[in-house]
């Protein structure tokens, strides 16, 4: 498709048909959690000397400091280097390779540093036979928190959480319907990007009989449930599931000739990148924006890194900030529920479809807006926004706050110019 020239006058109706196809595929996609496996074992093309990261591609020299710290943490946790200094040298020499998570149909929150042995969630869409992967957020690989603190969490995930959850999936017949749980959570006060209290509850209720039936010891099961109840990572676990589900659902809309629908939005703390269905795997970028919201005690907005993470795949699918009004608590980020409703109405203006499965209860159960159209974004001068966490720009800290960031118009303009070069 890339490089192919259409040797006739472009019929704009064909763009509309392509977009309707892209959106229909996104809406009809399903998302099931089917397995948990080390990245190197289950992700095609993943390599022993590779650490992947959130966002569009970026050279090591330009990378945000916090993302560098997270990648170095992942390299050390993986045993690829003994110290941060050695890890950095190996990366600079290309002996440890870095690449975007999205190159591997993989997503991970915030810095998103993923190493080969990390157990990734495997999410399948049986309707279109697509598979996506998620490395769950941990403090040291997502927020660049100090590895001395964070290594315990990574080891817990590898040694306890992943085996227990893998066995739980098996007990549930080999699949857990994530899309259904997300739809339920959206109607119970979660917007599915930064608030998951209800979704976590719905998830745990559904898996608890199977969890108990796995045969793991009482102590191991207690540790897993304690993780869900008390830690950042545990409380955010549904966020990992949601990211994986949204990735696999948006994959179904990729590579549709003439479609102007956005299939990926992702940030690396320096740039915010998008991919467009009719433009293959090309990235179009603009500067990653500031996250505006609240910070935890001891931190200020000046401490925050710019917008970062693969989690904008959630907004790409039409959830998260796209349905902000579903969450009265998160609506405060934008100035309250009425402002959130106004924002969702703006999102209808830049999308081409509506999803009957995901509904916003505070807007009379209105259907979620789906299918961001780069033409509408540019014409109407309205950009999507993303609800997100804040990472400390220096690394060395866990999450420092949360808020909303804007996608840069520059990315959509670049995409539109590329679309015109390709097709007009």
């Amino acid at each position: 498709m890339n490089g192919e020239v259409i040797r006739r006058r472009l019929d704009p109706e064909e763009i509309e048909k392509a977009n309707q196809k892209a959106v229909a595929r996104m809406i009809e996609s399903e998302a099931y959690l089917v397995d948990i496996q080390p990245a190197i074992k289950v992700i095609p093309g993943f390599k022993q000397d590779l650490i992947t990261h959130a966002g569009p591609p970026i050279e090591w020299s330009r990378m945000a400091k916090v993302q560098k710290v997270a990648i170095i943490n992942a390299a050390i946790a993986e045993g690829l280097a003994d110290t941060p200094e050695i890890a950095e040298k190996l990366i600079e020499r290309g002996e440890i390779q870095i690449a975007p998570n999205h190159n591997y149909n993989l997503v991970s929150g915030m810095c998103g540093a993923t190493a080969p042995s990390f157990p990734v969630l495997v999410v399948k869409d049986p309707v279109h036979d697509n598979t996506a992967y998620v490395w769950q957020q941990t403090d040291s690989t997502a927020f660049g928190d100090r590895l001395e603190r964070g290594i315990k969490e990574i080891n817990f995930v590898k040694e306890v959480l992943a085996p227990v959850m893998k066995a739980t999936i098996k007990e549930m017949g080999g699949r857990i319907n994530i899309k259904e749980i997300m739809a339920l959570g959206l109607q119970m006060g979660d917007e599915l990007h930064s608030r998951f209290e209800a979704t976590l509850g719905a998830f745990l209720v559904r898996i608890s009989p199977a969890l108990v039936s796995t045969g793991f010891s009482k102590d191991e099961l207690r540790r897993v449930l304690e993780y869900f109840a008390t830690t950042h990572g545990g409380k955010w676990y549904p966020g990992n599931l949601t990211m994986g589900a949204c990735k696999v659902m948006t994959m179904s809309a990729e590579n549709i000739k003439l479609s102007t629908i956005v299939t990926v939005m992702s940030r690396n703390g320096v740039e915010f990148g998008i991919r467009v269905s009719g433009l293959g795997t090309s990235w179009f970028t603009g500067p990653a924006g500031r996250v505006r919201g609240f910070t935890f005690p001891g931190y200020t907005h000046d401490d925050a890194a710019p917008d970062i993470g693969d989690s904008a795949i959630i907004e790409t699918r039409g959830l998260g900030c796209m349905t902000l009004a579903a969450s009265p608590s998160q609506s405060r980020f934008i100035g309250g529920l009425q402002e959130a409703i106004r924002h969702v109405k703006d999102m209808y203006r830049i999308t081409v479809g509506k999803d009957p499965m995901f509904r916003v209860p505070t807007m009379d159960f209105a259907e979620a807006p789906v299918g961001i159209d780069i033409r509408k974004v540019v014409e109407l001068n309205i950009v999507p926004k993303v609800t997100t966490g804040m990472a400390h720009k220096e690394g060395g800290h866990p999450i420092i706050g949360a808020g909303i960031a804007e996608a840069p118009m520059e990315a959509f303009k670049k995409a539109l110019l590329a679309f015109a070069r390709e097709y007009v």
């Binding site: 472009l10 704009p12 109706e13 033409r375 001068n381």
Partner: protein, 62 residues
Amino acid sequence: MAGHKLDILRRKIKAINVGISTFADSLRMQGVDVIEVDWRPPAGGDEELLKILESLKAKDRE
């Protein structure tokens, strides 16, 4: 004749503000009823982008 035209300014004004909100704020501060229309220049006024958008628009599409 001139008097007629000025009469409108002596009546209670209701205004429609298109675009920048700060104009509406000034009117409200003076007790004027204002309806705001959220309008922004298409494509930020970029002519090249406007031409591209026009060529990609289907007939009768809004």
